[in-house]
Amino acid sequence: MDNARKEWLLNTAIALALFAVPLWALLADEPFIITTATRIAILAIAAVGLNIALGLGGMVSFGHALYLGIGGYVAGIAAHHAFSGTTVLGLPGTNQMLPIWAIAMILSGTIAGIVGALSIRTSGIFFIMITLAFAQMGFFFTLSWPAYGGEDGLPIFVRNQFPGLNTARPWEFFLLSYGVLLAALAIFAMLRAARFGAALMAIRQNPDRAAAVGISPFGIKLVAFILSGMITGLAGAMMADLTRFVSPAMMAWTMSGELIVIIILGGVGRLFGPVAGAAILVCFEVLFGGLTEHWKLWLGLVLLAVVLFARGGLIGLLAGRAQHG
């Protein structure tokens, strides 16, 4: 069986498992497992966003928590004003997910556009550091901005609503997250198969040759970075609704690190890499976190072993190397 077919089968198995386990939990009345699966789905959406910049474009953004946090704060602030009946910048608050998602994506896309335009000219360690610096700016801004809770964060008292669903029920919110995850994966697959994706990967592999055949690296990388930020921003809005809480911790640099870890554990640039990685990370936390308070020590050892010895992550391990290096 060739690697592409193996990967396709593996992807199908992962997608089915992520649906079947919470379905079983629904029948067995285990809401915690449904919430855990929802967390995996939402983290995977955030990582699919990062995978566009990191996996396809080779841009090691160490600041994607910024977009996660922007999305989270959009959801939190909208719900806050809807709850208190006040306005923000002349607009009323809202408790509807659709307008919240739209604003979260527009805002995180705009910020990603600014950050990208300033940082794409640099590369290597400088790119890593400048993206980190912008995320830290966001982190410290939310930390010391008292209007929306500052350090204490902002609670969302009632989960925002989606037409036709009762989002307060874990299973229905899971279905929504799962649907958005599939849509994000479809967008990733279409981008990768399109001329745009081919150009982006060509730039990653050899910017000079790509430029020689007439591909302008800057514009394509910038568009990829913006799309990447938008999808992660959407995940941020959903994450805030899942935990019904948003705080500066969503923008902390460790969160950016975790998103990269998810992609590496799953497999860089692979379609289902983020899903596999998010599942590994969350399951690791839930299973080992219950056994020992020092589970992060073991996570560190596993991560170190993956980086040093098992490049390609879980998907690479089970389905072989990617066809395009």
């Binding site: 360690i125 980190l132 610096a133 640099w253 990269i260 170190l304 980086v307």
Partner: protein, 305 residues
Amino acid sequence: MSLALVLEQLLNGVQFGLMLFLMSAGLTLVFGVMGLINLAHGSLYMIGAFLCAAIAAATGNFFIGLMAGIAAAAAAGALIEILVIRRLYARDHLDQVLATFALILILSEGVRMIFGPFPLYLTVPSVLRGTVNLGIVDYSLYRLALIGFGIAVALGLWALIAKTRLGIRIRAGESDREMIAALGVNIRVLYTVVFALGAALAGLAGALVGAIQSVQVGMGEPVLILAFVVIVIGGIGSIKGAMVGALLVGVIDTMGRFLLPRLFATIFDASAAAGTGAALASMLIYLLMALVLIFRPKGLFPAHG
């Protein structure tokens, strides 16, 4: 707002900058010589502080603790280099970021397992307690000693790099790794020594700062990020750049937090101004870093021409 208060904050900024320099010097050397991004540098800072606090509490002598902190950080650095870091030199930055991120998780949890979840307290040694009169302001003697000590270590480091055989090898390693290996220098040992030297400086900074802050798990990461800001502003690989960058970051951060809320308070109404001022002040150094990268993408003092 008196002149004395401004002078005190300025001295605090210089003291903070010099401690940042101790952190940044190791980071920039490791990047300059080995081309490695080491996120775990903050963990070495933490190890220095913990060992110093534990040994100082056991022996009752701060200076024995300080020596122990430096030695422990250097030993941990050498061990990490031999076990893990050595395998990362040929890898890309993504692998280096991840492997050293994993090291942070391991070292932080390791320290938590050994020393427990509660912060340790390290008191200022009795000979350095109290204040000293500097004309218009009474300034903490310990902080003044940190300034003096920071300058002395910086001079020592400069002498080491400029005047000794080891320094020549380090500089040669920065300009051409293959060539100095071909000339018969044992490059593996040199790498371990440079890494341990950087670790010792980080441990020293952690131990010294530990006496004015609490010693706790996670204390290294905020300083690590500031040290990255410093070396990106100064130019990665340049010790001189690290010095200039560290002083800039230390002074701008301290003065920004002190002056901006007061400045805004004179323009807008008090409560909103204090919040806006504080929010802007905490972003100031990152803004500085972004500006430097936009106008001088290789930093203020590019190391390689």
